[in-house]
Structure formats: C-alpha cells, structure tokens
C-alpha cells in the first residue's frame, strides 16, 4: 500500500469535513477498499474511516413502514435485524463469508456499486432511497453504471430506506471462485407492481428488467417469464461466462426468485 493518514471521526459532520481534503477517501468496512489499496490501485492521502460514527449504524422502521438501514451497518447486522424484510436479510446473510459480513457495510457496497455486488440489486428492486449527508436520491437515479453513482466527491451514504414488499427473493448464481454474483436477480412484489433488478450481468452495472416486471405484475408466477429474454449484447463476458450465458441466467434466476419469493 501507498502511505496515507487515517482518521476516525465520530460524527457525519466531522467525516464530511475530513473528506474535504484533497485526495481523501471514505473507508466503510474496507472489504473492497483495503484489497484495492493493497494492489496500489488507489492512492489516497487520507482515509476517513466511517466505522466510528454511531449515528449511521443500525436498523429501524420508519413511520411509513420503510426499513431504514444506516450506511455504516454491517451485512451481519442486516442479516440479523432486517427481519421485516426477509428477502433483504437473506441477501445480506449470503454476501461474502461471515468475517467479511462482520466488517462490510451497506453504505460501502452501495457507494462502490461493484457490478457484481448484491446490495445494488436489492436497492434498485425495492425502489429504495439512498440518503446522504445532504440529500435523498431515488434508486432509479442513483446507479449510473459500473462503479458509478450519483454521489459527489466526499458525499457519504448515511442511510438506505427500503419500502418493504409483500413478497421478495434474491437469487444469486455465484461465480465459483470469488463467490460474487455471476448473475443475481432481486424480485420484489409491491401492491402497485413488481420490480426486478439484475446484478452481475451487465457492463452498465445493475439494471431493471422491465419486460419481466410488466409480465410479473400481471401474473406473479415463474411461467410469466417464459418467452421473455434478455439480449446478450452489453452483458459482461469473461472466462466465467459469456454474455449470452449471463443473459440466459437472468431469466433462470428470475424464475427461481419468483418461485421462492415469500
């Protein structure tokens, strides 16, 4: 790693101030950023650790029934405490491995927007709201391509608010070496319709599969997806699977998610 200073502010305001420095980067749980630093793919002068900010940790329910998860909340905590949204709790409980889940945070995952990460699928399929230190961003506006988000430099994800669906399920086809999603599909059924979000597959990062949403909103059954297909164009193609293979898996994982939704 290159050398850098590390700071551990205890409030969001102090963290934002510290991030005002040139070349400063926020550090969530570090489960992606620390390996990245080790590879010298990033060279911050200051790392601002968000792990000391108690205000952005924890899970609660808002007055409108939405599940609110602090940006600094670990995957393990979400898996344990997001019981009102079982599809989301199950997703969190299957990210990485137990030790990774004890450090990695939802805010870090959503801010990084890895094209194969699990959380972006849940955030987009839930029509969740990403809350930062200075605004609220709808999921549909938040994700802007591979590793790209609507966040400005130094902006911190303080909370993610999830409307709780009637039924939901996340199905992940794991890339066998990394255990990241080769393709992951999150299906969420709300009173006003179904949303389907796909991670791992597209070169543009997480996306909504709108044809499946329309079909499933009319008939929430695996067969509703029969006959629909996603194009392999623009899909990630690598040694683990071609674009066409990933496109095929989108349909398969969607059907499995619908069949298992609860």
């Amino acid at each position: 790693m290159y050398s850098f200073d590390i700071q551990r502010p205890t409030s969001v305001a102090d963290a934002v101030a510290a991030l005002g420095t040139d070349e400063a980067l926020p550090l969530g749980g570090g489960q992606t950023l620390i390996p990245t630093l080790k590879q010298r793919l990033s060279a911050p002068s200051v790392l601002v650790s968000l792990t000391g900010i108690a205000d952005i940790k924890g899970v609660c329910t808002a007055d409108d029934g939405a599940l609110c998860i602090g940006g600094g909340t670990t995957h393990a905590t979400v898996a344990r405490e997001a019981s009102s949204y079982p599809g989301l709790a199950a997703l969190a409980g299957n990210i990485g491995d137990p030790a990774v889940r004890n450090r990695g945070t939802i805010g870090g995952s959503v801010a990084n927007n890895d094209p194969s990460a699990c959380y972006p699928a849940a955030v987009l399929a839930s029509g969740a709201t990403v809350v930062t230190n200075n605004r609220s961003i709808a999921a549909d506006d938040y994700f802007q391509g591979m590793f790209a988000t609507a966040l400005d430099e130094g902006e911190i994800v303080t909370e993610v608010r999830f409307p709780v669906p009637e039924k939901s399920c996340y199905m992940k086809f794991e890339q066998p070496a990394s255990r990241f999603a080769l393709v992951g599909v999150f299906v969420a059924k709300y009173a006003d319709g179904v949303r389907v979000a796909v991670t791992g597959a597209s070169e543009d990062g997480v996306f909504r599969w709108t044809e499946a949403e329309e079909a499933l909103s009319a008939n929430f059954a695996p067969e509703a997806v029969d006959g629909l297909s996603v194009s392999g164009d623009g899909m990630i193609s690598d040694l683990h699977g071609s674009g066409a293979y990933r496109a095929h898996l989108v349909g398969v994982m969607t059907k499995r998610a619908v069949a298992a939704a609860s």
């Binding site: 790693m1 290159y2 050398s3 850098f4 200073d5 590390i6 551990r8 550090l27 570090g30 489960q31 620390i34 390996p35 630093l37 080790k38 200051v46 790392l47 650790s49 792990t51 393990a76 990485g96 491995d97 137990p98 030790a99 990774v100 004890n102 450090r103 255990r179």
Partner: protein
C-alpha cells in the same frame, strides 16, 4: 503515526502505527503474536481471523487504527487459564483437524465465533460458516468433525474421514 490502545487477549496494549498498518501486522510485528497467520493477504483464506469486539474478522483487511479502543482476541488467547487447550483446540487435536496447521488459528477463531452464535450447528451450517476459511490439507472433513465434537454433538455420522 497514530497512537492506538486496545485490549488484546485481556491485556491493555498500545503502540504507534502508520495509517496503513493492518491489524494483522500490528499483532504479529509489534506485539509478536505470530499465531495469527497471513495466508493470502487478500481476505480470501481466513488464516488471519481474530475476534474484534467478539466478532470474527479478517485482520488482514482491517487497519490497526480502526481497532483503537477495541477488545481483540487472537489464537494466543484461546487456551484455558491453566494453559491447557480449550474445548475447540482439544477437539482439533483429537479429531485430526489439522495437518500442516497453517490455517488452524483462523479455523479455531471462526469455529469459536460460530459456536457462540449457534451452539449446536448442523454439519451443513459448519461447512457454510467456514466458507471464508481455506484449508489445503485436510479436505475439511476432520475440521468439521472437530467443530461438531467441540459443540458436544455426536460426530460418528459426519461425512467420510
């Protein structure tokens, strides 16, 4: 340099660390607690697992400065007060849960974290929990067996030797 103070295996320790000093390097190089191993250094293998505030974490993927004020437990803190092996360590010995031993500190720390949250895990739950701990010698069967035994369960039925 940043001054850090933490409790490691029940003792208060402190030291000056650089921003990029990993917890594992602080434990091994500064405190000379070399039982915590570094296998992959990319957070895949789990040889470096320690407990921070009671939770299993990969100490190669956390900075020492982030552990300031924390309670840290390493493999050196696992034996019983009289120096004898604790129940998990003893079970690893009895069930031949190690061969070269390199992964064993991480395995024992992960096993302890598992049994704290799930005192009677099924074989499948043990295998699932060990997803982030890689062993290249044993083929895992005897590790699983040892952890099942440490939880007080009958291990006769656990998969092939």
């Amino acid at each position: 340099m940043t001054k850090v103070t933490m409790t490691v295996n029940g003792k208060s320790v402190s030291g000056d660390v650089k921003g990029n000093t990993l917890l594992t390097d602080f434990l091994r190089d500064d405190l000379r607690l070399t039982g915590t191993h570094v296998g992959c250094d990319t957070s895949q293998c789990g040889a470096c697992v320690v407990h921070v505030n009671g939770e299993a974490v990969k100490s190669c993927t956390m900075f020492a400065a982030e552990a300031d004020g924390a309670e840290v437990k390493t493999i050196e803190g696992m034996a019983n007060a009289d120096g004898s092996l604790n129940v998990i360590q003893q079970a690893f010995q009895e069930h031949h849960g190690l061969q070269c031993g390199f992964c064993t500190p991480g395995m024992v720390m992960s096993a302890a974290a598992l049994l704290k949250e799930n005192p009677k895990p099924s074989e499948a739950e043990v295998r699932d929990y060990l997803e982030g701990n890689i062993c290249r010698c044993t083929g895992y069967h005897n590790i699983v067996k040892a952890i099942m035994a440490a939880s007080g369960q009958d291990v006769a039925a656990v998969a092939a030797e």
